[in-house]
């Protein structure tokens, strides 16, 4: 019994962390129409940034600044934001598929940099020597994981509230207008370039927060954590949940993560032994099928975007 609860805590923690990243992507794609194909780079910048800033000094790579945890986490978010600023200034002039291709390239470059720049990121070995915050006081057991889950849930809720307020405000209206028709928005006195950059950076900072929490949870990050697969998973979560709907984004994260975990478990349990080595690949194929299937049959997602009828200032179903 305690094993199951303990597993549920683990599952919910990871799903909630991923949900935060999906919310960040929803701001970029769902609300502003920015096709970020390199989610994992910003997630990774947050994870690496947090662990480098908050870890203990290491002989073989940079970092280990031993900052107190909240500062380390904030630092990770700043790292993601800085990366987004540079990438945004360079690529946001591109639209749709071109933006997707270039941001995907950025993510691949990021992974390669982390894999090869040993002085910076520990190379393929990743970053070690990170102490999870308050571990000395709470120990490593179930209680710690439960409190960490609460902390993650709190941040997930805060991110959700922040974004709900934002997209319900005139700023959100402006984002949607830019998504729908940039030329028309410009002719009505708006400056889409600046707003797109702001939305891109804000979304990426949120992904950086998710990455920082992910790194904290495992007290470790390596290039294996920033593979393109994670970008696809996060996209699948948003598409299944419903782009443009924050609740949908969260639901999508939980659903896809549940399906991913269940398919992994199912394959390891029931697939014939000679198939076992392909289990990982089969999972990728499945997630690809889910994305394609959703886009074909229900492109608006399980929880479609709601139309804002601002007469009352509330969304209508």
């Amino acid at each position: 019994m305690i094993g199951l609860i303990s597993y549920l805590v683990f599952f919910t923690t990871v799903a909630s962390i991923l949900a935060i990243a999906v919310l960040g992507l929803n701001l970029q794609w769902g609300n502003t129409g920015l096709f970020n194909g390199g989610v994992v780079a910003f997630f990774g910048a947050g994870a690496y940034g947090t662990l480098l800033l908050g870890g203990t000094p290491q002989p073989d790579h940079m970092g280990g600044f031993g900052l107190i945890y909240p500062l380390a986490l904030l630092g990770g978010m700043v790292a993601a934001g800085l990366l987004a600023w540079i990438v945004g200034v360079l690529t946001l002039r591109m639209r749709h598929d071109y933006l997707a291709i270039s941001t995907f390239g950025v993510a691949v470059a990021f992974e390669n940099l982390m894999r090869n720049a040993e002085w910076l990121s520990g190379g393929a070995k990743g970053i070690r020597g990170f102490e999870r915050p308050l571990r000395a006081a709470l120990g490593d057991g179930f209680l710690y994981n439960l409190l960490f889950l609460l902390f993650v849930l709190l941040l997930l809720f805060a991110t959700y509230r922040f974004l709900e307020l934002l997209v319900g405000s005139p700023f959100g209206r402006l984002l949607r207008a830019i998504r729908e028709d940039e030329t028309a928005a410009r002719s009505l006195g708006k400056s889409p370039d600046r707003i797109r950059l702001i939305a891109f950076i804000t979304g990426s900072v949120i992904m950086g927060l998710a990455g920082g929490l992910y790194g904290t949870f495992y007290a470790f990050v390596s290039p294996q954590d920033v593979l393109p697969t994670l970008t696809f998973q996060i996209w699948a979560m948003l598409i299944v949940g419903g782009a443009g709907n924050n609740r949908g984004a969260i639901m999508g994260a939980f659903l896809i993560w549940a399906a991913w975990t269940a398919s992994g478990w199912g394959l390891s349990r029931f697939a014939p032994v000679e198939m076992q080595i392909f289990a990982g690949s089969i999972q990728y194929v499945l997630i690809g099928l889910v994305i394609v299937g959703m886009l074909l049959w229900r492109p608006q997602g399980l929880f479609p975007e709601r139309l804002v009828v601002s007469q009352s200032g509330h969304a209508k179903n």
Binding site: G168, P170, R176, A177, E180, D181, S187, Q311
Partner: protein
């Protein structure tokens, strides 16, 4: 020239070898409804685009209220009082009609990222004002029953009205309308024309591209005709009706001006 609201001087736009707007000079009188006519491909919409900064001219200048504004982007020009609509309507399709209109006012404090957090009260107060005005404008354009509808799902004619409603929210001094009545049913077109007349009485200046000659002759003064990128006629409706060059140009014949 206190009564000239904007001036175009020697404006030229080329696409490769093709000269879409060829050395066009004209003045628009404050408070006028200036009609811009010409056959398809005469360069009318290109001229609009060059004026409003949607594309940059190769040569020539645009002067708005005595200020040189050539090549300024559309958002700057809108803030300076020059609004426009599009020949093919560009609604924000997945937003409600009301939201489409509420977007347009300039200098909204809530359009800052920090707006809803650091100045929530001011944003709410401003939103209330904007909402009231937006409903008035929708009422004026006979669109208020559609306020809650997605703008992408209303009729083409209603989209034309919505285009004008959005522009009105920014309260520009000059409005360029690109075929406002094209594809609009006669009843709606009638409403549209009435509204344009009302607004003109309130002091707004219009420049209107239109193929409906009845509308042009009845409501526009002066009328300017373009053909093959050049101005071939400028005068009143009465002059226009007896002008052989204009009739030629409108029928698409070659003009050696």
């Amino acid at each position: 020239m206190a009564d000239t609201v904007f001036t175009i001087d020697g404006l030229t736009v080329t696409f490769g070898e093709f000269c879409a707007v060829d050395d066009v000079s004209l003045k628009v009188r404050r408070g006028s409804i200036t009609g811009l006519i010409g056959p398809n491909g005469a360069g009318k919409t290109t001229l609009f685009n060059a004026i409003t900064g949607n594309l940059s001219p190769d040569r020539g200048t645009v002067t708005l209220n005595g200020k040189q504004v050539t090549g300024l982007p559309p958002d700057r020009l809108f803030a300076m009082g020059l609004g426009r609509t599009f020949q093919i309507p560009r609604p924000f399709a997945r937003m409600s009609v009301l939201e489409n209109v509420m977007l347009a006012p300039l200098a909204q404090i809530g359009e800052r990222l920090t707006g809803p957090f650091l100045s929530a009260r001011a944003v709410r107060a401003q939103e209330k004002e904007i909402r009231v005005r937006a409903m008035e404008v929708l009422e004026f354009m006979t669109l208020s029953p559609l306020a809650d509808h997605p703008a992408g799902k209303i009729s083409g004619g209603q989209m034309k009205l919505l285009e004008l409603a959005r522009v009105l929210m920014g309260d520009p001094e000059i409005i360029l309308l690109d075929e406002p009545a094209a594809g609009v049913n006669p009843t709606l077109a009638g409403t549209l024309i009435e509204r344009i007349e009302d607004l003109n009485q309130q002091g707004k200046t219009f420049v209107i591209i239109e193929h409906d000659m009845d509308f042009i002759m009845r409501h526009c003064d002066p009328i300017i005709a373009l053909a093959q990128g050049k101005v071939v006629f400028e005068g009143t409706a009465v002059e226009a009706q007896s002008n052989p060059i204009l009739l030629d140009a409108y029928l698409g014949a070659r003009v050696d001006a």
